[in-house]
């Protein structure tokens, strides 16, 4: 079996009395589309924060693509090939959509220019293509902070994609987006990911989205992974049905 793209072993973290991560062992294979489900406060985002260096675990080790990333900063981890979008989109709210993407593209390079203008220091074509892909070509000069919620989410994901990561982590990509637009957004994102052959890990509350787009599902309950594997099987798991989906046992 080939080496996992991301391997986390025995990750623990507690905030005071609340255990956010309880001896978690987790492996992500290249090419997978993993959906993580769980109630609020179960530790899904905390685990993402740990794997991306925003939080430090008290025990455990994380290896990404052969590199030990335990204890590293988000910046160094991102440089190794992980891109991330957030529950609350993290955009450069005072700059335009295009500038947000351009900064992300420029970040990929070895050095940011001092005198060459931002637009000239990145690949124009690539920026236009990405704008086209996420459907924001017309909104290119809009101020990022004034976009509607769904567009903000798209931009957030697009910025992560611009880094050409091996793994993209999306924290609730469709939350805050109207039910009408949810599927459209996910289809768009997945198409973009397919085109760029990126492994995907996303946190999602909407079961429809999960069943449609995930190749694997992991269910978080109280800081532990309660079920992990084939989407159909996990979604039928009794604990998952009761505690996460809120369905009465059949």
């Amino acid at each position: 079996m080939s080496q996992a793209l991301l391997q986390a072993s025995d990750i623990c973290l507690a905030f005071g009395g609340v255990v956010a991560a309880d001896h978690i062992d987790f492996a992500l294979q290249e090419g997978e589309r993993l959906a993580v489900i769980g109630q609020n406060g179960a530790g899904k985002t905390t685990f993402i924060n740990i794997c991306t260096g925003y939080l430090q675990p008290t025990t455990g080790r994380i290896v990404f693509n052969g590199h030990d990333i335990t204890g590293k900063t988000p910046r160094s981890i991102v440089k190794l090939g992980i891109g991330r979008s957030f529950q609350l989109p993290q955009l450069f709210t005072e700059q335009s959509v295009q500038q947000c993407l351009e900064i992300a593209a420029a970040a990929r390079g070895a050095r940011l220019s001092w005198l060459t203008s931002l637009s000239d220091s990145v690949n124009h074509k690539e920026i236009l293509e990405t704008l086209e892909l996420i459907g924001l070509r017309e909104a290119a000069n809009e101020v990022a902070g004034e976009l509607p919620e769904g567009h903000k989410k798209l931009l957030d994901v697009a910025m992560a994609l611009m880094l050409r990561p091996k793994l993209i982590i999306m924290d609730e990509p469709t939350s805050g987006v109207s039910s009408q637009d949810k599927h459209g957004l996910m289809a768009l994102v997945m198409q973009a990911l397919d085109e760029k052959k990126v492994t995907c890990w996303f946190v999602e509350h909407d079961v429809d989205i999960v069943s449609r787009y995930a190749t694997r599902v992991a269910a978080w309950i109280d800081g532990k992974i309660a079920a992990d594997g084939d989407p159909k099987q996990v979604l039928q798991h009794p604990q998952v049905r009761e505690q996460i989906l809120g369905l009465t046992p059949c």
Binding site: T52, T73, P74, R75, V78, K79, R84, Q90, L91, F92, T93, E94, Q95, Q99, E102, I103, A104, A106, A107, R108, L112, S113, W114, L115, T116, S117, L118, S121, V122, G145, M159, A160, L163
Partner: protein
């Protein structure tokens, strides 16, 4: 008319003024120095970090001129300028490496604290620095040429004008570069910057050193123009004036701080001539008015006006 053209023309006007009214030369040089310093302050300000101690770089650089001139009386003015500016910039790189870890008020206060320590030390160490009386700077030769007062002032005016134009050009290029835009991104979302793999500290440090360079250069020119360096060149009121000028003129374009400096000098002159004793009040009221009505400063208001009128002109 494009702003670049306007800047070049203004410089020509200043040079002509200096020829026709020779008594204005020192005033113009000082105005340009203030503008240059405010331009420096504007760079980190774009990332939302406003320093309340930047005058210290002018002070350090000025004292470098004084110390060097005192130790090597035959040192040429050009060399003095270069060495002093380098000294100030070096200070900025060193202090900058600490200071860029702080944000908002702490950034402002840390800069203020460093400047207060420098000013206090310069004031107290009488043997070294001449205390609060300062040190006189003898007029040096310039590029080998020995000059009279009037000629020297003319040279300095030309130097200031060229420096201002170059600095403006650099500012425009830098703020539109990848680093410059990343700096602006720092203001709205530092987390995002880090999650793109960009070091916020490094980007801010680059901006900080650049700003230190501008302010040091201004301080060195000022020292040569005034012929005297005193500790209060680095006082917090001076730093405050720089911030004020930057806000007044606006930092969206390099021309802004210079426009702000011009208005500032004008208000000062006008007030001290006709309303001595209330010039601070006038300044304060001007600042309040600008903040209330034109938060992007004079340049910002001008650019907004141009934007609106060009939109309106479309069919």
């Amino acid at each position: 008319m494009k702003l670049g053209m306007f800047s070049a023309l203004s410089v020509l006007v200043l040079l002509v003024l200096g020829i026709v009214f020779p008594w204005t030369k020192t005033m113009l040089i000082i105005g340009l120095c203030y503008g240059l310093s405010a331009l420096g302050v504007a760079i980190p300000a774009r990332s939302g970090q406003v320093s309340f101690g930047h005058a210290m770089f002018a002070c350090v650089s000025a004292y470098a001129v004084a110390f060097l001139a005192r130790a090597f009386p035959s040192m040429d003015g050009v060399v003095l300028l270069v060495l002093a500016t380098l000294t100030g910039t070096l200070f900025a790189s060193v202090f900058g490496s600490f200071v860029v870890r702080y944000r908002g008020i702490f950034f402002g206060m840390l800069n203020l604290a460093i400047s207060m320590v420098i000013v206090a030390l310069l004031g107290k160490l009488y043997e070294l620095s001449g205390g609060t009386d300062g040190i006189r700077v003898q007029r040096p030769s310039w590029g080998g040429l020995v000059t009279e007062r009037a000629e020297f002032e003319t040279i300095l005016l030309w130097v200031s004008c060229c420096v201002a134009l170059l600095a403006g050009w650099f500012y425009q290029r830098f703020t539109q570069s990848a680093t410059g835009e990343a700096l602006r991104g720092l203001k709205s979302n530092e987390t995002r910057l880090e999650y793109l793999g960009i070091s916020a500290h490094y980007v801010l440090w680059v901006g900080y050193v650049g700003s230190g360079f501008f302010v040091s250069l201004a301080g060195a020119i000022f020292a040569l123009a005034q012929g005297l360096v005193t500790p209060d060149m680095g006082s917090w009121t001076r730093s405050g004036e720089l911030v004020f000028i930057m806000i007044l003129g606006g930092s969206s374009h390099a021309l802004g701080p210079f426009v702000g400096a011009a208005v500032f000098q004008a208000v000062k002159l006008f007030a001290s001539a006709y309303m001595a004793g209330v010039w601070q009040m006038l300044l304060g009221l001007t600042l309040l008015t600008v903040i209330a009505l034109a938060p992007e400063g004079i340049m910002g208001a001008w650019q907004a006006y141009r934007c609106r009128s060009s939109k309106g002109a479309q069919p």
